[in-house]
């Protein structure tokens, strides 16, 4: 549809009802701006919906390297070690999908690592996940998280 005032494509369409009479105005970006109509920025539907779907205003980004979830999804590459916590739980799903449903590492670990703090942080996150899963009555997820908690605490549990 063309602008009411020139031949350019209209980007603003406004319907006004004054005293029971309906009029519709179509304006191009320039004329809309000139008449103080807000011009819509070019955003994708996904970007518009994303904050509402995830219940947050912004998509998570990694504090370590700035990697956003969208960037991770595009290249399927994490940017640094911190991504694995910052982009959770979405990155968890990507890993499990890539790994045939496996949910945790088993086997060798580096001899040198300072991990008491990381272990605590991970444990706290799991407890939080567990609470949320139970509250949402997602018992399968809750069972998985409980298994991971057992692993962190060194309690032998069944492997998923």
């Amino acid at each position: 549809m063309k602008c009411d005032q020139c031949d350019k494509p209209a980007v603003v369409h406004e319907t006004v009802i004054t005293a029971g009479v309906q009029t519709t105005v179509h304006l191009c970006a320039e004329h809309a701006a000139a008449q103080m109509h807000p011009v819509p920025a070019s955003v994708s539907i996904a970007e518009l919906l994303a904050p509402h779907l995830s219940g947050k205003r912004t998509l998570p980004a990694c504090g370590g390297c700035g990697m956003t979830l969208a960037e991770f999804r595009k290249h399927n590459l994490a940017g640094c070690s911190a991504c694995f916590d910052a982009l959770s739980p979405m990155i968890d799903q990507a890993i499990q999908r890539a790994q045939g449903g496996a949910t945790a590492h088993c086997g060798r670990a580096p001899a040198r690592r300072d991990d008491a703090e990381a272990r605590q942080a991970y444990r706290a996150r799991l407890l939080n996940d567990l609470e949320q899963a139970v509250a949402a009555e997602r018992y399968e997820v809750a069972a998985q998280v409980r298994n991971s908690l057992r692993e962190v605490d060194g309690i032998p549990g069944q492997q998923a």
Partner: protein, 355 residues
């Protein structure tokens, strides 16, 4: 690069099951704690990673056997030679960023620094020798682990840039020659079965490459929730022996159903290789594959598979230039002529035996 007579780990002696298996490889993916992964690291950080890994390796018994090549200062032909020898990946050779590779004198161990992960430790041997590969890669890894802090996560184990590698970060791959499975149209079934078992069947140069001369790489896809020994054991004891059995069975079936055709295929390949004046890379790979099958089937004793393996490497463009230094190589036709001359010379013993 040294002359190829002793270079290229898969040019070594033929081992067990050499009728089907060309070579084995184990690769470990590792990252350093405290640095962003390669895709997010600045030029300065990438330089730091290179010097940190190289310096610590050079200073210790576990890493002193590596000679280091700085890819940035490395001429293009040499980079291509390393790709052709399977010492570095194509992407690694092509990238512009600071990166280096450490290679042991016998070329069985190579360590890429700043590939998709900070470290890609790779051990490769000819024949079916997964255990030796695993031992060599692990020995370096454990040495490196004593001197470097690896990126590690409680749930995900060894962290890697791509989710497909987290956990134990191991990729075991075996290069197989499967001409009969393809001839009898059974390869698609193998491919489907491999997929169901979370294995990948890829071409001659691995990820993203086309199968050439019926050579394939079979490798594990799962690295999480399995110990590295389990991944190794599963391929070594269960999967590879089964594929070898299938291929042998297909070869038997083909030979017994069409013995004249099997012999004819071999003779035609030998005749082309010993007489042609022009030979493209694809055709050379295809014919060398047929030759290899003929040797494994006992159709000739004039040459053995080690010669075929060496030629599989020497017909690749960068190695062709290396072994025929006096031949002009500006055009594809000149390259094809040099390739045909190399094959005629090397396979001369075959000419008299098929006459």
């Amino acid at each position: 690069m040294k002359p190829i007579e002793n270079g290229g780990p898969w040019l070594g002696p033929l081992g067990r099951d050499a009728d089907v298996v060309v070579a084995s490889r184990v690769r470990l993916a590792r990252n350093l704690a405290g640095f962003p992964f390669t895709n997010r690291a600045s030029t300065a950080q990438r330089r730091d990673v290179v010097s940190m890994v190289r310096d610590r390796a050079q200073a210790a018994s576990w890493g002193r056997m590596l000679g280091w090549v700085d890819l940035q200062g490395c001429p293009a032909e040499q980079r291509t030679q390393m790709v052709e020898r399977h010492l570095v990946s194509k992407q690694f050779a092509a990238s512009d960023a600071p990166r280096a590779v450490g290679i042991s004198a016998d070329e069985t161990l190579s360590v890429m620094v700043n590939e998709e992960d900070h470290l890609r430790i790779q051990a490769m041997y000819s024949g079916l020798r997964i255990d030796e590969c695993f031992a060599a890669a692990t020995a370096f890894d454990q040495g490196a682990e004593s001197a470097l802090d690896y990126a590690w996560h409680h749930r995900w184990g060894y962290l890697t840039a791509c989710p497909t590698n987290v956990g134990c970060g191991i990729r075991v791959s075996v290069m197989l020659h499967l001409p009969a499975l393809r001839l009898t149209s059974e390869l698609d079934r193998v491919r489907r079965a491999a997929k169901d078992l979370h294995l990948a069947l890829r071409g001659f140069h691995g990820e993203g490459s086309e199968p050439m001369g019926d050579f394939y790489q079979l490798s594990n896809q799962i690295t999480l929730g399995m110990r590295d020994e389990e991944v190794v054991g599963e391929l070594r004891d269960r999967i590879i022996p089964q594929v070898i059995r299938y291929e042998r069975l297909a070869r038997e079936t083909y030979r017994s159903k069409a013995p004249a055709a099997a012999r004819d295929r071999f003779i035609r390949a030998a005749a082309m290789l010993t007489h042609a004046r022009l030979m493209s890379l694809d055709e050379a790979m295809k014919l060398l594959g047929r030759l290899r099958l003929g040797i494994a089937s006992g159709l000739t004793e004039a040459i053995d598979s080690t010669l075929v393996h060496r030629l599989l490497l020497q017909v690749q463009p960068a190695h062709l230039a290396l072994v025929r230094p006096n031949d002009p190589m500006e055009t594809l036709e000149q390259q094809s002529a040099a390739r045909a001359a190399l094959l005629r010379d090397a396979l001369a013993p075959l000419r008299t035996s098929i006459g």
